[in-house]
């Protein structure tokens, strides 16, 4: 005797490919796969035909040819005799420089504005609302071009800074250390009297002094963290938190100051000599305009994110903190912000990503970033659109993926640990 547990064995019919949910998904996927492969093949075939018609091939060898154009702002060594690949690196560094400075400044400004927007001060919160709406609702390209136009058209020419009979038409600011002309901003540059030697490593020379500074700062921060962790442990054990602020200050600032003093840091001030400014560093307006505009624009976006995050924390939390007797400042720091941070971080990641991608708008003011070098001059000189564009998109994609994975890892570490 058999129990009727065996389902009736249905014979496979062709119609089941469409009607039976078990097989339908395979049918759909196979059809999609075939269509996708056909599409790719069609595109590839077109590309090959078009390349053949234009007598071109796909070859990245051009990267090792002489670039032959100048880039004023280069963080890695570059002359017009360098290769296109070196130009690519210079462009990448310029992109990252604006991105890092922009993210840093816009976070500070954005968090401040976002908190002030919620302040009880009527006037201040209204002003911040106006700021946010004004910057958020106008294309960022407008701010870039506007800052650039204002800087390069309202500022005096370098020759106006010439002192004739004790007076000049224009004067430098901040104790004669900064000069904003219509060609660029002249700022003091740091110089070292006894710098550490540069070392050659596979064709690139590494600046050991900068590396030493980075190492010392990183070590100080690490030691400071250990100190704070010890203090927290003592507080857990005894209930009394040892005073750490002066130890922290010592650990954070004394080593780096000592190192800089030992290397003989001094500032090279720009000064008007002959027909132009000599000494110091000339920061191009393209860089200033791009950084300032991106900072102001993204500060407004981040401010909205911060406001939404703070408002997402229920009122009970701040009331509970008040019931415990915490002052408003401490409530913000110890209760509201740590919780709001969890809401704020995911959108903040995408703001950072957008900011990094928007550095490519430097095109509007001819800033030579990755798009300006690889996707601009190199592309036009070599005529290799396919290779340059592919490489450029790939690099942007990698930068984006790195930023989002780093920030997602951070997000996972501060996330509320649930079951």
């Amino acid at each position: 005797m058999t129990l009727a547990t065996e389902p009736p064995k249905a014979n496979f019919r062709l119609g089941m490919l469409i009607y039976d949910t078990r097989y339908r998904s395979y049918t759909i996927q196979i059809i999609v796969l075939i269509l996708f492969l056909l599409g790719v093949a069609w595109l590839a075939n077109n590309t090959i035909e078009n390349l053949a018609a234009k007598d071109k091939d796909i070859n990245f060898g051009f990267l090792w040819n002489r670039a032959g154009y100048d880039i004023d702002q280069h963080l890695v060594p570059y002359t017009n005799d360098s290769t296109h690949f070196q130009a690519l690196l210079v462009g990448l560094c310029n992109t990252l420089l604006v991105a890092v400075i922009g993210c840093f400044l816009s976070t500070i400004l954005g968090v401040t504005i976002g908190v002030l927007r919620l302040s009880k001060n009527w006037l201040l919160s209204r002003m911040m609302t106006v700021y946010i709406e004004l910057f958020r609702n106008v294309p960022v390209v407008l701010w870039i071009i506007l800052v650039y136009a204002v800087l390069s058209e309202t500022r005096p020419e370098p020759k106006d800074f010439k002192i004739v009979d004790g007076t000049s038409k224009a004067s430098m600011i901040l104790n004669d250390s900064f000069a904003i002309t219509n060609r660029g901003t002249n700022v003091p540059s740091p110089l070292l009297e006894h710098p550490l030697p540069r070392i050659e490593l596979g064709g690139y020379s590494l600046n050991l002094s900068v590396l030493a500074c980075i190492f010392v700062v990183a070590a100080s921060i690490w030691i400071n963290r250990i100190l704070r962790r010890r203090a927290a442990a003592t507080q857990e054990a005894t209930g009394i938190r040892p005073t750490t602020w002066w130890k922290s200050l010592l650990i954070l600032f004394v080593p780096i100051i000592a190192l800089l003093f030992a290397m003989g840091l001094h500032w090279d001030y720009p000064a008007f000599k002959g027909f132009n400014f000599k000494g110091g560093l000339n920061v191009a307006h393209a860089f200033t305009a791009l950084t300032v505009a991106l900072t102001l624009y993204y500060a407004s976006v981040i401010a909205e994110t911060v406001r939404a995050g703070i408002q997402a924390i229920s009122k009970g939390q701040s009331e509970a903190a008040a019931a415990l007797g915490l002052r408003p400042g401490r409530t913000m720091n110890l209760v509201i912000l740590p919780q709001a941070l969890r809401v704020i971080i995911p959108p903040l990641i995408s703001q950072y990503l957008s900011l990094t991608k928007d550095t490519s708008l430097g095109l509007a003011v001819s800033y030579l970033d990755l798009r300006g070098t690889l996707g601009g001059i190199t592309l036009n000189q070599t005529g290799r659109e396919l290779e340059c564009m592919t490489l450029m998109m790939l690099i942007y994609l990698i930068i984006s993926l790195i930023i989002s994975s780093v920030m997602n890892a951070y997000n996972a570490s501060v996330k509320l640990k649930e079951r």
Binding site: I28, Q29, F36, L51, K357, S360, A364, E385, S400
Partner: protein
């Protein structure tokens, strides 16, 4: 014996101290509640004063009629003294039409104006689903504005009469049968295409017939083979129609009954006309595409999920500029040799793809926020996948994602300024560069940017306010 004193009536409340009432109290509470707040208030007042004292004379000395920047400056110098600054709005007075219409022929301006008016009529049923009075108010208002613009551009001509009749009729429809306006919404893309570019009317009509073929085949096949098969077969049939039959049919009709408007080439488009064409086209296509991509990303089918994820992450990982350069430089490699492809169309396609990926992520967030019980309940009711999506999932998921979707749209509209990098005359960079290159207006910078920025602000701010209105309207919880 002591005399007892008993008060019979209550003492009236004494007036609060002067510092606790009226304006003084408000000031104390809102501006000077503590030392920090007082300092911040004073600082804010100072900043405000500095901004106003800097910009007010400049605005007040503004000149509205002049033919060059030099003339502006001499007028300002004559009226307000040699050192006073003054805005030169005369530039906008003289060149506003380039900012709005680009190089569109002036005698044809009635066409974009009419199309812009119809855009709002088409939007009305979407914006205010069942709100008859809001819809008819919007239609009436936009009709009056469009007719005024037409009179301004054209005088009292045949087009004006036509527009008055058209908008009066549409407003009447909105007040009586609001559902009928959805027809306008569906037909609008074809009407706008014809009005803006011109040419034979049979082109858009036969293109519309392609969609009808698709709908017909879908309604025949879907009940038997399911919606996916129906939609794909219908799509194939429509593609066959568009590729092989459409041109013959439209030519035949054109020979029979020639109805056409003057053809305007794409390089005549510019200014806000261009921004709106790209913005509206991309917005309306990218939302459905984004929903499909979001569904693909959450699909159980491995292959579809992988393709969707790859597509979304790739598009979101590269800047829009590189996509636009792909449109202008690389598309010629990927398409069959000798394909000629309108630049505006190429840009619309790439911008659509770009914002579809962002919409997909927003919608995915909405889908993820729905409790699992909703999906299970839909399954328990015996709804199939598409029914469940249409009736249960999407109405809730889209409601959650409204703020995100609208901010994607705002971003898209702002990003239309980037098309200037591939040679189109957008209002911000394209047209302003042309104006600033003019010998008469060389050296002008605040005025054009304030004008263009102002229009962008109005549009984007309007969109964000509308999204807040919608959120409030759809809110069903009681928080």
């Amino acid at each position: 014996m002591s005399l007892l004193y008993i008060r019979k009536d209550m003492l009236g409340p004494s007036a609060p101290p002067a510092s606790q009432t009226g304006a003084i109290r408000w000031l104390r509470e809102n501006l000077f509640s503590g030392p920090v707040n007082s300092i911040l208030t004073l600082l804010a007042i100072y900043v405000l004063y500095a901004l106003i004292s800097l910009s007010w004379p400049w605005l007040a000395n503004g000149v509205w009629t002049a033919s060059s920047l030099q003339e502006c400056r001499s007028i300002v110098a004559a009226s307000a003294g040699p050192d006073a600054g003054g805005a030169c709005w005369a530039m906008i007075h003289e060149r506003w039409h380039q900012f709005i219409f680009g190089f569109y022929p002036p005698d044809l301006w009635w066409r974009p104006i009419l199309a812009f008016g119809l855009l709002f009529v088409a939007l009305a049923p979407v914006l205010y689903a069942d709100n008859k009075s809001a819809m008819s108010k919007l239609c009436g208002l936009i009709g009056v504005l469009a007719v005024l613009c037409l009179i301004g551009a054209d005088g009292f001509s045949f087009h004006t009469v036509l527009a008055i009749a058209l908008f009066a009729g549409l407003t009447a429809f909105a007040a009586t049968k609001p559902r009928a306006l959805l027809t306008v919404t569906i037909l609008f893309p074809f009407i706008a295409l014809w009005l803006l570019w011109g040419g034979s009317i049979w082109g858009p009509i036969t293109a519309l017939l392609g969609f009808m073929v698709m709908a017909m085949i879908y309604s025949l096949i879907a009940p038997k083979l399911g919606p996916v098969m129906g939609a794909s077969l219908g799509f194939i049939a429509a593609c066959l129609w568009w590729l092989f039959l459409q041109s013959y049919v439209s030519e035949a009709w054109q020979a029979l009954l020639p109805l056409e408007l003057t053809y305007v080439t794409s390089d005549k488009f510019g200014g806000f006309l261009l921004a709106f064409v790209i913005g509206v086209a991309s917005i309306s296509i990218s939302l459905p595409l984004g929903i499909l991509l979001a569904l693909g990303r959450r699909s159980d089918m491995m292959l579809i999920k992988t393709l969707s994820v790859g597509f979304i992450e790739f598009v979101r990982g590269v800047p829009l500029i590189t996509m636009l350069f792909t449109a202008s430089l690389l598309l010629q490699y990927f398409l069959p040799p000798q394909t000629k492809f309108d630049l505006i169309l190429r840009v619309v396609i790439l911008v659509t793809i770009f914002s579809a990926a962002y919409n997909a992520e927003v919608v995915r967030g909405g889908l993820a926020a729905l409790p699992r019980g909703q999906y299970e309940a839909a399954d328990a009711l015996g709804l199939d996948y598409w029914q469940a999506q249409r009736l249960i999932i999407m109405p809730q998921a889209l409601k959650i994602s409204i703020p995100g979707i609208v901010s994607t749209f705002i971003g898209l509209f702002k990003d239309t300024t980037l098309v200037s990098f591939v040679g189109l005359a957008d209002p911000l960079r394209g047209i302003t560069t042309i104006v600033r290159a003019d010998i008469n207006w060389k050296g002008i910078y605040w005025e054009p940017y304030i004008f263009v920025g102002g229009i962008f602000f109005i549009v984007c701010f309007g969109m964000s306010r509308y999204s807040m209105y919608l959120e409030n309207k759809l809110k069903t919880d009681h928080r």
